[in-house]
Amino acid sequence: MSLVGLTQDYAEIRITEKLEQQQLTEVLQLLGEKYNLKFAYDNSTLSDQEINLSLTNEKLNNALTKILEGTGLEFTVLQSTIIIKAKASGEIESMSPTRFNFPLNGLIIDKQTGESLPNSIIKIEGVLYGTVSNTDGYFTLLNVPSDTCTIVFSYLGYKTLRLKLDPFSETQNLQIELISAPEMLNEVMILDQAFRTVKSGNEPGQVALNPTQLSSLPSLGELDLLKTLQLLPGISGTNESSAGLFVRGGTPDQNLILFDGFTIYYLDHFFGIFSAFNANAVKDLQLYKTAFPAKYGERVSSVVDITGKSGNMNKPSFGMGLNLLSANFTLEVPIKNKVSFLLAARRSYTDVVQSPLYNSLFDNISGENEKVELPIGGSRRFINKEIDPNFYYFDINGKITYKPSEKDILSFSYYQGRDKLKTNYNVGEILDPDISFGFDYSENDASEWGTEGFSLRWGRQWNKKFYSNINLGKSEYISEFERNRNLRVYLDEESQITNTTFTEENDVKDFMLRWDNEWNFHPNSKLEFGLLFNENDILYKVTSTDFELANLSDKGKQKSIYFQNTSRLFKKLSLSLGLRINDFSLTEQYYFQPRGSLTYNIGKNISLKAGAGKYYQFINRVISESLFSSSRDFWVLTDGENFPVISGNHFLAGFAYETSDFLFDIEAYWKSTDGLLENLRLTEPFFEIPGPTEAFFTGDGVARGIDFFLQKKTGKHTGWIGYSLARVDHNFPQLNNGNDFPALHDQRHELKIVNMYGIKKWDFSLTWVYGSGRPYTSPSAIYDLNLLGGAQKPFLYVGVKNNTRLPDYHRLDFSATYNYNIGKVGKGQVGLALINLYDRDNIKFRQIQGISLGDNSPDGQRLIVADVKLLGFTPNVFLNFKF
C-alpha cells in the first residue's frame, strides 16, 4: 500500500462506514460515490472479495489499508486516481510484459504545493542508470526495458516513490507527486524514512542541498544555505566570518553563483556572518565542486546553481519566523492552479533593537570603541572616538510562475539583498572656554552594498525528447561608501568650516540572455547545448572631495556557446563530453574549454568517477579590507594586461559506495589556476593621500587534495563525517623571491562531524568542525631607521611569506528544535542554537605591527601581535510557523 501520490484533498478525507459482507467492488463504488474518489482497477483481480469491517473517522489511507488487508491487493495513487492492484508478489508480478524499450516521460511535483521539483532522480530499479528532471521538473526516461519494471523517483528531502509499472500503466505525461519530508513529520510510520539534508550528486564533484531540512542544523540566525555547504568536505568550514565558499583551493570570487539563472556577486549579510539567500525562497541547490559541465562557465572554481521556490500551486500559505537578529515572512498564493506567486522577505531589526546577540556579533566584527588621537593641532587631549553605528540588512525574493499549458512554464524571479551601515563619529573640544575657542569634528560614514537581480524565463517541453529554456536577466552589484568629514573651528561667534568628502563606488551590471536545450536524441544519449550572451558594465570610482583618485570603469561582452553530450555505454558507463567556447570582447580572443566526466558502475553499489575540464574567468575581485566601511572589495573586468584572464584546469577521480542506508565517497582532485591577483597597498594611518600607492601582482596556484565523505542517510540518527586532506600553493614571481608559498586559505586537515537526531517532535543536532591552522606571515626581523626631523621608526622584514600557521580551529555547535502543530492548519518550530559551545578562541587573523619602545638598542624593539578572534560562545533562539 502506499500513501504516495495522495492529493491534499484525499489525505484529509475521513471514512466512517460499517461494511458487512460487501464485495470489494461494491465497497469501492460506495467510497467513490460518497467521498468523491476515483478508483481504477482490473475487475478480474477483485472478484469475490468480501469485506467485513467497521470504520470510524479513519483517514483514507488507513481505511484503504484495512479494506485491502488480506486481499492480496494494494493501492497506489497516480494523478488523483487510486489504483487497486495485486501486490508485487501476486499475479501481476508474474504477468508477461507487453511493451519493451519504451520511453517514459512526465513531470515531478511536490504533492502538497504542486511545485515542480528540479533535479529529481529517476531510476529503474535494479538497473544502474537513470535520468534527472530538468529545471522545470520535466523528465524523460528513455529505453525502459519493459512495462513490468519499477521506476524509482527520488528527490532530496522527499520520500522516495516506487512506481511499479504494469501493462496497463500510462507511460506518457505522467504527473509524479512526491511528499516532502516535513509534511511527513507527524506520521509515525515514516520516521524510518530518509531525511537528507545533503546528497552526493549524480555527476562527479556534485552535491545537492535540501533547504527544507536546514532548520535542524545549528545557525546563528536565519537558515543558511551556504553555511550548510561549509559543513561538507572540500568546502572550508573554518571561515565563519564569511558566507563565501572556499571550494577545493578556490576563492569565493572564483565561484559562479546563479539564482534562477542570474549571477549573484555578493553572498553575505552582516559582514559575512550570514549568506544572502533566504532558505525559505529556495527550492533546490546544486553545487559542482570540481570539473563542472560545459553548461556552466565564466568562473574557474565551482558552481552553485540555485533554483528559487515557485510557490504553492494548490493553496495559499503564509509563514513567519523570528530570531534574535531578524524576522522573516513567506507568502505563497496560487491563482486558479495555473499561477503561483511567492514573496519572501527578511529584515534585521538591528537598527531598532540591539539584542545581545547583535551586540556580540557587531563587537566581534568591529572591535571595541576605538581610542584615537585625532590629527588636529592645538593643545589636544586623547579623545574617545565614539562610534554610533546604525546597521541593518534585508532581502526580498519574489517569483511569479505561470503554467499556461502542460508543456510550458513562464516565470519571473526577482531578488534584492542589501546591507546598510551608517556610522557617526562626533567629537568636540573646547580648547579655551574663556574665549569660546574650540572645534567640533564629525565623521559620517554611509555604506550600502548588495545585489539586485531578476530573470524572466520560459521553459517548454516541446516533446518527450526536447526541452528548451530561454532566460533573460540582469543582476547588479553595488557597493557604495561615502565619508563626510566636517571640522568647525570657532572663536567667539566666528567659525571656519572645512568639509571633505571621500567616496568609493563599485557598480557591476550584468545583463544576460541564456538559451539552454536538452535533446534526448537517442535512447542512450542526451545532448545539451546552448548560448549565452552576457554584458558586464563595471564602474569603480574613488573620489576625494572633487579629486578623482581612481576610475576603473570598463565594459565587456561575452558570447558563449556550449555542447555537452552524455551517453550511456555498455550499461555501466556514463560518459559526458562537452565543449564551451567563449568570445570576450576586451581581449578579442576565443577561449576553448573542453570538459568531460565519466561514471563507471561496478556492481550495484560501487561506482568509479572521474572528470576534467578547462575553465576561464573574465572578471576579478580585488579585496580592499576596511572595517566599518562595508564591503570595499571591488570587481574589475579583465583586460589581459593589468588584470589577467584567470584560467584553470581541473582533474578529479573518485570512488563511491552507496547503499540505501549510507554512502561512502572519496574524491581526489588537482586544480591549477593562472592569473591570480595579489594586491599590495600602501596604507597610511592618518591621511588619505592620493598617489600611486597600490600594486597588483599576478601569479598562479595549484590545489590538490582528497575528500572523504561518510554519510548515514536513514534512521533517527543521521549525519556524516567529512574529512579533507588538502594543499594549496601559490607562486608569484615578484613575491617571496619567486618561491612557492602556501595560500592563505591552505588548510592541511579539515574534519567535520554532523549528527542529527530526530525523536518524536524533537530534532537535535550536534556539529563539530576542526581545521588545522591556516598560514600567516610572521616577520623575520625588525629594524630601525632614522628619519628626517630626528624621528626613529621601526620597520619589518619578512623573509618567507606565510611562513607559519595559526592555532588549530575547532568549534562545536548544538541545536534543539521542537516541531509542533498549530491546530489543524499550521505547523510551528521553536528552537535553540548554541554556537561554539565550549567557547573556543578561534583566530580569524593575526595583526602584526612593529613598535619602538623608545630605546634605540635592539632589545628596545618589540612586535605587537594582536589576534582578531572569531565568535565565542553565542546562543540564539528562533521561532518559525507556517499556515
Binding site: 593641532g377 598617489g691 562531524i753 606571515t777 610572521s778 623573509g799
Partner: protein
C-alpha cells in the same frame, strides 16, 4: 535484508557517535604551532641619505638579524660610470663617509649604493630631486606663548604661512624647523600643554602653517623644506597584502634596497627662517 540494513544503520550511528567523541578528545588538546621559517637573515640594513650639494656622510650599515652595526663592509657609491669607495667613520660604528671631494651630489643625477657583506651584495638607487620652487612666507616674525592679555583675541600674529609650488599635488615635501639660538629661552604654554605632533610626515601640499605651539623656544629659527623622493615617502606607509581572503597579511616594510633592507634616497631643500617673539 531489511534486518541487515537496520543493523548497519545502528552500527553507523555508534561509529559516528564514537568518532565524534574521540575526535573531540584528540583535538581539544591543541598542538603547538610549528616553528616559523624565517628564511635567510644574513643580510644588511642600509640607511643612506644623500643631500644635494652636501658631502656624503652618515651612511649606516647594520645587520638585519640583530641590528649590530657593521664597520667592515665594502661600501661604495656608483654614479656616472664612476665608483666611489666609502670609508668607515672613526668612533662611529656602522657609519661610512666619502673622504675625498670627487663625489658630488648633483640634482638630476642617479646614484647607486653597493654594500658587500655576508658574501652578498645589497644595492639600491636614487635620483637627486630638484629643490622646492618659489618658497615664500607671509611674515618673518611671529608671536609665541600665552598672550599677555588673556582676553585678547588670538590673531594671525601667532601663525606663519609658508607656500611653494606643487602643481597637481604630485610631489612630496618634508618640513623641518630648527631653533638656531645658542641659549634659547623656552616658551611657556602652561602646565597642561602638550605639544602638537605636526610636521611628522611628508605632505603633498603646497603650503604649511607654522603656529607658535609647534615651537619650543623663542628666537631665530631655520626652516628647511625638503623635496623628498617617492621611496622616502613610502617609509611612512605600511604595506598590506590582500589576496582574496579579506584578511590583511603583513609584508616587508617598504624598501628600495635589493638583497637587503633599509633605504637609499636623496633630498634637496630650500631654506628660510623666522623669529619667534614674546607678545
Amino acid at each position: 535484508m531489511l534486518h541487515k540494513n537496520k543493523n548497519t544503520g545502528k552500527s553507523l550511528s555508534v561509529i559516528l557517535s564514537w568518532i565524534s567523541v574521540l575526535a573531540l578528545l584528540c583535538f581539544l588538546s591543541s598542538c603547538d604551532p610549528e616553528e616559523p621559517d624565517f628564511g635567510d637573515l644574513e643580510k644588511v640594513v642600509i640607511e643612506g641619505y644623500l643631500f644635494a650639494d652636501q658631502p656624503v656622510e652618515n651612511i649606516l650599515v647594520k645587520r638585519l638579524d640583530n641590528q649590530e652595526p657593521i664597520s667592515d663592509a665594502d661600501v661604495a657609491i656608483f654614479s656616472n660610470d664612476s665608483i666611489f669607495l666609502l670609508s668607515p667613520t672613526p668612533n662611529r660604528p656602522g657609519r661610512y663617509h666619502f673622504e675625498g671631494n670627487e663625489l658630488n651630489i648633483r640634482q638630476g643625477n642617479e646614484y647607486t649604493i653597493i654594500v658587500n657583506y655576508f658574501d652578498k651584495t645589497a644595492f639600491g638607487s636614487t635620483i637627486v630631486p630638484p629643490p622646492p620652487i618659489n618658497l615664500r612666507q607671509d611674515k618673518f616674525v611671529i608671536k609665541a606663548g600665552v598672550p599677555s592679555n588673556p582676553d585678547s583675541v588670538i590673531d594671525q600674529e601667532y601663525f606663519l604661512g609658508l607656500a611653494w609650488e606643487n602643481q597637481n599635488a604630485t610631489n612630496y615635501f618634508f618640513l623641518e624647523i630648527y631653533n638656531i639660538e645658542e641659549n634659547p629661552e623656552e616658551i611657556d604654554f602652561g602646565e597642561d600643554f602638550e605639544r602638537p605632533q605636526n610636521f611628522l610626515f611628508p605632505v603633498n601640499n603646497n603650503f604649511a602653517i607654522i603656529q607658535d605651539t609647534d615651537l619650543q623656544y623663542y628666537g631665530n629659527h631655520l626652516v628647511k623644506l625638503y623635496r623628498v623622493n617617492p621611496e622616502y615617502v613610502s617609509l611612512y606607509f605600511e604595506i598590506v597584502s590582500e589576496n582574496n581572503q579579506g584578511t590583511p597579511s603583513v609584508e616587508s616594510s617598504p624598501s628600495n634596497i635589493q638583497n637587503g633592507a633599509g633605504i637609499f634616497t636623496a633630498f634637496n631643500c630650500s631654506i628660510t627662517g623666522f623669529q619667534a617673539v614674546r607678545d
